[in-house]
């Protein structure tokens, strides 16, 4: 009986997901497409929870639905409001449809074949057998920051590169009208401290339960974005120098720890088991800060005012703006 209920739940979830994906991709209205995409992200978070991936469920809810959603929604007005009708000819459309269908069938066959093959060496067994010496007890954090720390270091580099590109290309969006409604501001005053505390909790708990640097960083970025929305008059005031440091502190700490461990254990990022837990927490804290500032800047869509300035020239330029007042320092709660 229970199993039947599970099956019904699974089938409903999958059908809803496919329906949302289809309408996201085929609706004529860009705004509606973005909204549906956010809904799909939330549904995906439920799917991850169902498939026993709570770390992913957290990440998807914050990043996939939250941050992506904010990013895409604010990007809508950059584009002329034209209906998204496809202008491909019938022939091209037919070719695309049949090729996609063929690929889908081929992939289904491959997955079917793969699932029915006998098990080879399972990576998960190795993960669990080494877990006691990894310094953390959450296997996903162990994979991310111990076994495959290289991946995570390079991922931080990818995030930094993407943000540097964003900063190089554009000034921050200036046409944005934040809302100053007392309702939003009142809610923000309650929510932002909560988000900051939750972020700290996720960072700390990542060692032994679902959570970690990415979820915590994204949560912090969400708090920053909320502040930007509720207090538009303050949003221009960034301490750029501090922000630049925060942006790279994750990679810097990561590489520093890696080199230090290399001097002791002859291998880059080969942690000494006794210190692994502490080192992972240090790296994760720095990474959280970097990810939060990177995602906030990505949402702003470009350089905040006075970004290029550095040293005396930058100081002078900053002074011609208003007194620089950093949201990061004040928390903006006012």
């Amino acid at each position: 009986m229970i199993e039947l209920l599970w099956s019904i739940f699974d089938i409903m979830l999958v059908l809803l997901l496919l329906a949302l994906a289809w309408t996201t991709c085929s609706t004529q209205d860009v705004k509606r497409a973005v909204t549906l995409f956010i809904a799909m992200g939330l549904l995906l978070a439920i799917v991850w929870a169902r498939l026993k991936a709570p770390d992913l469920a957290l990440a998807e809810a914050v990043i996939g639905a939250g941050i992506s959603g904010a990013l895409l929604l604010s990007a809508i007005k950059d584009y002329p409001v034209t209906p998204m009708v496809s202008h491909r000819s019938r022939l091209i459309e037919g070719i695309i449809n049949s090729l996609t269908l063929a690929l889908t069938i081929l992939m289904s066959w491959a997955v079917w074949h793969g699932l029915n093959m006998s098990d080879g060496i399972r990576l998960s067994e190795q993960v669990f057998s080494q877990l006691p010496v990894s310094g953390v007890s959450n296997p996903v954090t162990a994979v991310l920051l111990n076994y495959r720390a290289y991946d995570t270091l390079l991922e931080l580099a990818v995030v930094l590169t993407a943000v540097l590109t964003v900063l190089t290309l554009n000034e921050k969006r200036s046409d944005y009208q934040g809302s100053t409604s007392p309702l939003l501001q009142g809610m923000t005053r309650w929510l932002v401290p909560l988000l900051v505390v939750t972020s700290g909790y996720l960072l700390w708990v990542g060692a032994h339960a679902p959570g970690g640097a990415f979820q915590a960083g994204a949560m912090l970025a969400a708090a920053m974005i909320l502040l930007q929305l509720a207090y538009p008059s303050r949003r221009a005031e960034f301490n750029n120098y501090l922000l630049k440091i925060l942006l790279v502190i994750g990679i810097f700490t990561f590489v520093l720890v890696g080199l230090w461990m290399m001097s002791r254990n002859d291998d880059f990022l080969a942690f000494t088991p006794a210190w692994a837990g502490t080192l992972i927490l240090i790296i994760e804290t720095a990474a959280t800060i970097s990810i939060a500032s990177a995602l906030t800047l990505a949402y702003l869509g470009g350089r905040p005012g006075g970004w290029e300035g550095r040293g005396s020239e930058g100081k002078a330029r900053e002074d011609t703006h208003r007194t620089s007042r950093s949201i990061t320092e004040n928390g903006g709660a006012g």
Binding site: A53, I76, Y79, R88
Partner: protein, 94 residues
């Protein structure tokens, strides 16, 4: 267990197909990006479906870590693509 793995993998393949088709069909940047993200979500779903091991078994954490990385990289890539698109728009306006 294998039936859930299969169901969710097929759903992942479905998402991938829907996303790929729309990516190729659309002309505008934003709908294309959305479609590409749907496509990526499909790939993530296939990974996680295969990692699933049953209701009372710990799932394989390695694909979970890979997909977590993937989600963060996907949002960075989306932000970058949006910035490139915005730059193009301003260049076209001038």
């Amino acid at each position: 267990m294998i039936s859930e793995q299969l169901l969710y993998s097929l759903a992942g393949i479905g998402l991938f197909g829907i996303g790929l088709r729309a990516t190729l069909l659309h002309h505008m940047l934003l709908p294309r990006l959305l479609a590409l993200n749907v496509c990526g979500a499909g790939v993530f779903l296939i990974f996680i479906a295969i990692a699933y091991g049953g209701i009372d078994v710990m799932a394989d954490p390695v694909p979970h870590a890979l997909v977590l990385t993937g989600i963060v990289v996907a949002v960075s890539a989306t932000a970058m693509a949006l910035a490139l698109g915005r730059r193009l728009e301003t260049l076209n306006d001038e």
